[in-house]
C-alpha cells in the first residue's frame, strides 16, 4: 500500500512521496503549490483516523523502556531538523530514492539507519530509558 501510494503520486502528479519534504514545504514555505501538500498530509491524518476507528491497538505507544514526554520533544526536534537538513526521511530517501537507485538516498538511508541503530542501542541497552 505504501508502494502503491508513492507510485500513484509519481504516475499521476509526477511527485515523489517524500513526507518530510511535503510537510516541511507545506508549513515553512509560502509557495503557491501548497494545496496539494496540505491535501497529502490531510490524507495521511484522515487515513490515520480511519485506521484508528478500525483497530486502535495499531496505534499503541507502549514501549519498553518507557519514553518520557521529553523524549518526544527532543526526538521531534531532531527528526524535523534532520530531515530538512538531509532533504528527506524514510519515505523520500528510503522508498522513493532507493527505488531510483539514487546514491544520495542510499547514503542518507545508511546515515539515518545507522544513527537509529546507535540511538536504540544507547537508549535500550546502555541508559535504559529517556
Amino acid at each position: 500500500m505504501i508502494g502503491l501510494a508513492a507510485a500513484m503520486m509519481l504516475v499521476f502528479n509526477g511527485r515523489i512521496a517524500g513526507i518530510s519534504g511535503i510537510f516541511g514545504s507545506a508549513i515553512t514555505n509560502r509557495s503557491s503549490d501548497g494545496p496539494w501538500r496540505f491535501a497529502f498530509v490531510g490524507g495521511l491524518v484522515a487515513g490515520g483516523v480511519g485506521m484508528f476507528l478500525v483497530d486502535p491497538s495499531m496505534f499503541s505507544l507502549e514501549m519498553i523502556p518507557t519514553r518520557s514526554t521529553w523524549a518526544f520533544v527532543v526526538a521531534g526536534l531532531l527528526v524535523g531538523f534532520g530531515t530538512r537538513l538531509g532533504n528527506g526521511c524514510t519515505s523520500g530517501h528510503g522508498v522513493c530514492g532507493l527505488s531510483r537507485f539514487s546514491v544520495r538516498s542510499l547514503v542518507a538511508t545508511l546515515s539515518f539507519m545507522g544513527a537509529g541503530i546507535v540511538a536504540v542501542y544507547v537508549f535500550e541497552h546502555v541508559i535504559g530509558g529517556f
Binding site: 500500500m1 505504501i2 508502494g3 501510494a5 507510485a7 509519481l10 504516475v11 499521476f12 509526477g14 511527485r15 513526507i19 510537510f23 508549513i27 515553512t28 496539494w36 491535501a39 497529502f40 490524507g43 495521511l44 484522515a46 487515513g47 490515520g48 480511519g50 485506521m51 486502535p56 495499531m58 496505534f59 505507544l61 507502549e62 519514553r67 523524549a71 518526544f72 527532543v74 526526538a75 521531534g76 531532531l78 527528526v79 524535523g80 531538523f81 534532520g82 537538513l85 538531509g86 532533504n87 524514510t90 528510503g94 522508498v95 527505488s99 531510483r100 546514491v103 547514503v107 538511508t109 545508511l110 546515515s111 539515518f112 544513527a115 537509529g116 541503530i117 540511538a119 536504540v120 535500550e124
Partner: protein
Amino acid sequence: MRVLIAFVSGAIFAGGLVVGGMTQPSKVVGFLDIFGQWDPSLAFVMGSALLVNVLAYKFIVPSRPKPLVEESFHIPTRSDLDWRLISGGVFFGAGWGIAGFCPGPALTALGSGKTEVFIFVASMAGGMYLYRFVDDFVFSEVGNSSEGAPPERVKIDA
C-alpha cells in the same frame, strides 16, 4: 484534481503505514534494535514498497513524457554527497531511534488523537522551522545555503 490525488494517496499511504506496524514505535525500535531482540518485519514493509516503486521508475516513468495530471515530473536529480545529507541523516536517525517515529507515521498517528503524538509533531514542525531559520541566517553567511548550494564542505559546530 492533483489535490484530490494527493489526498487519496496520503490516505492509502497512511493505511499502509498502519498495516505495516509503523505507527507502533515499539515495532520501529524493535527493527532498529539489531543488538537486542531484533524484529525484522519492517524490512518486508519497506522491501515491498521499494519493489512497487522500482517497477514504476523502471517501466512507467521512462515510457511517459509527463505524469497524468501534471505538466512534468518533479524527480530529484542531485547526485552530490555533502555534509548536510549525512549529518541530516544522523540527526534524523537519532530522533527516529529515540521516539520510534519518522514523519509519515507520526502524521498518520495524529489520527489516534494521542497527546504524545501531537507533542512529537509540534516539535518536528519546530525543528523544521528551526532549520529554515538556521539555513537563512547561519548557513547563508558562509555561502552555502541550500538554494543552489555548491557541494563544498563547510565546518559548522553541530
